[in-house]
Subunit: 456 residues, 2 copies
């Protein structure tokens, strides 16, 4: 029987170069979040099923459930009764990082800071149809501040995310900003019936994709009259040269209810805060931004790059969600970076720096004892170098060819023969140029960093 | 309905201080392995079930299987036929890191270096009975070199593991070393029937735990005659003051077959290599070391600390295992560090350094605009400091109390009031001493590192 050695459908093996790229991105994410005072949280891959059920609407069918084991399973199977899914499983794989945060806040609330600033970078599993950039196991990268409604918290979440993108080398991205009550206020101001609000939201969220006429048609199909649709489009389809504050001012004038006007005022305050951060260079008020909107209660944000449909991150304020397992209301603002999408765009644009991976030096040897070879490798490692040793006796040419082979790519060879050994030296060969110099073993790191500081 | 918000049985939430300790250890592991030329590999949490079946003997029942979903599951449940486990699942959670390595070597062999030096640090899942230091989700930390039978590979795997333990602060550990053919040769030399070899191994592996008399009794219970048991104990119960080379010499003299004598010679060669590494300070030849022995074909190693029953790491050479999914034989030597046990011992012994976690500075503010507060926080972050901002208006005393609260522990407060703002300064308060100085905003990092270089 030939067994397939591919990973399961929609899942991936990360070979060393892949891991290096992921670690590069995650390292920057961690560093920036920690400078903003966020602390790391990790939760188990497996959750009790009852924690996950009822949280994801019709996507609940995408949850991976764990089969019961042993006697428990045998009892169910042997009972002769009709069996349903619920009898076969009470554990499931993590589906997102928000429900685990809510569970952690309920469980450890008293031990956590009043304002819990946590980041969490872990895989989640969804039995979705695999596609380009869509996997069944993928990393999420969430940051949240719980316990406060202060706009300073919103600003910090936004600022950190933009700083991360800039540190990764992104320049031309947009930070789209909206407020749930602003969008709802505009729908009311257009005279659309409250019962049709959700339907109207779905249509206007597509403005970027299908244009004003497309949205108008879709509003019609959703039972919204011509006049109301026309009025709504007038409100949301803003001139491109309008500044963010002009836009907020113009929209405020059109709004009828105080709740929506206050939302505009809060958005203007947040905009003012964001001017002091990296967001200031990228922010755009986009009154049609909805992001599903289901659980958002305040500001809504989305990070967009021109050449990628969809976003590379987004979030907002959701004051009614994180308290779901407790008795207290837990206001929260958060943002998720789309790590897989960020990696995809960075690969397509060639945005990765030269990443240190694999040995800098391969020790090649001829006519000397293995113990001398190992001793020299240890002295090179003691200088902080990443060092591999050709493990078997072989011709020098073959050993140096190995240094150049795929997956090794050692930029330097340290050649050890009888003569070098007697003099306490190695012949250090720079593989790209072919240049070779004899250096004392203990000066190898210095010689290498002089020649190619970047390869350190 | 009150839902439990604990993690599932045998699984753990890692709160920020836990994550920091794990990251500290994993960071050192990665650093050392990379200096030895190892490269990182990551594989999916989920494997096709057929990859895992038949690999773990009776422990196979501990594998977590994933339940089929949707129509596929409904078809099985509605069929009316008797249902068995196999009809309900074809995916399962990773059980160890060795089988995934074997799969990766079979799948990508041509793209991998001839000598694939990989490390892998990922969680595995086992439905075992939870206990002290035994979890259902735990990290494994494996390092392997495939593609060579060279003792240099054995030595590098051993050297890296000991260097890691020393870097973590372990001093008094033992690196126990044995060879499968040596132990088998001793059993033969004692005159024990080949059919009872496995049974004898199980008994002698307990010498440390139950002493010579205990082993003698157990050998008897296993059907091994008094004389043979006595002879075997004479061979394996070595004087404590014997050096490793004396021990190998003495054992070699007792062995009858050439295979076992060659094993002693190879062990002596490996010992010679290890003298040039950190292992030299810790190595002890232990002829009873078996480690299950099932798949080992050569050297066997184990890392032991005095105050922990069991080991904190171990491995050996297993030349017939990694090729399991391919046609080629793939010789390999590897070692797994017991990350959870290392963390446990380090916690019990207080071996963790002061780990940088959470904010160094909490910005406290009074009678100033939020945007000024945020602007100052950004300037502090720009100096590389980890900075949090008290998000809401509150009395200064309350804000500083928060800096000292559990889970925050900010060693410094940066106080911003109208006067400070006007002068471009902050009042920097050292929380432990209560001392307070006014400094220019942009010199805060310098002032902090002068006062407490360790808290950076």
């Amino acid at each position: 029987m030939a067994i397939s050695t591919k990973p399961p459908s929609g899942m991936r093996d990360f070979l060393p170069a892949d891991v290096a790229r992921r670690n590069h991105v995650v390292g920057i994410v961690r560093d920036v979040y920690e400078r903003y005072g966020f602390v790391p949280l990790e939760t188990p891959a497996i959750e009790n099923l009852e924690i996950l059920l009822g949280k994801y609407g019709e996507d609940e069918k995408l949850i991976y459930r764990i089969l019961h084991r042993g006697e428990g399973l045998q009892r169910v199977l042997a009972s002769g009764e009709p069996i349903d899914e619920a009898a076969l499983s009470d554990l499931a794989l993590r589906y997102d990082l928000t429900v685990p945060l809510a569970r952690v806040v309920a469980q450890y609330g008293g031990d956590l800071p009043k304002f819990f600033k946590r980041y969490q970078i872990q895989p989640v599993w969804r039995a979705d149809r695999p596609g380009r950039g869509r996997f069944r196991e993928f990393y999420q990268c969430d940051v949240d501040i719980t316990g406060t409604e202060s706009p300073l918290a919103d600003a910090e979440v936004c600022a950190a995310s933009c700083e991360i993108l800039e540190r990764l080398g992104f320049r031309d991205f947009t930070f789209a900003l909206n407020h749930r009550q602003l969008l709802r206020g505009l729908i009311r101001a257009a005279g659309i019936d409250t019962a049709l609000e959700g339907s109207a939201l779905t249509a206007v969220d597509k403005l970027d994709k299908i244009g004003p006429q497309g949205v108008h048609d879709e509003l019609g199909q959703r039972g919204i009259g011509h006049d109301a649709a026309h009025r709504l489009l007038e409100l949301i389809d803003r001139p491109a040269d309008e500044s963010n504050l002009q836009r907020l001012g113009a929209l405020r004038d059109e709004l009828q209810d105080d709740e929506a006007k206050q939302a505009v005022d809060r958005l203007a305050e947040l905009l003012g805060l964001l001017e002091h951060t990296a967001v200031g260079r990228h922010v755009r008020v986009v009154p049609t931004l909805a992001r599903g909107l289901g659980y958002y209660t305040g500001a809504i944000f989305e990070l967009q790059v021109a050449d990628l449909a969809g976003s590379i991150g987004g979030g907002g304020r959701y004051d009614e969600l994180v308290g779901m397992f407790g008795k207290r209301r837990v206001p929260a603002v958060g943002l998720a970076l789309g790590l897989e999408r960020i990696l995809l765009v960075m690969a397509e644009r060639g945005m990765y720096p030269d990443l240190a991976i694999g040995p800098q030096v391969l020790v090649c040897w001829l006519d000397v004892d293995r113990s001398d070879v190992l001793a020299i490798a240890q002295r090179l490692r003691g200088q902080g170098l990443r060092v591999d040793v050709y493990p078997e006796p072989a011709k020098l040419g073959k050993q140096m060819q190995y240094a150049d082979s795929p997956g090794v790519h050692a930029p330097w060879c340290a050649i050890v023969g009888k003569d070098e050994l007697a003099r306490g030296e190695i012949a250090l060969k720079h593989m790209a140029s072919g240049e070779q110099v004899a250096v004392a073993v203990d000066t190898a790191a210095a010689a290498i960093s002089m020649r190619s500081p970047s390869s350190a």
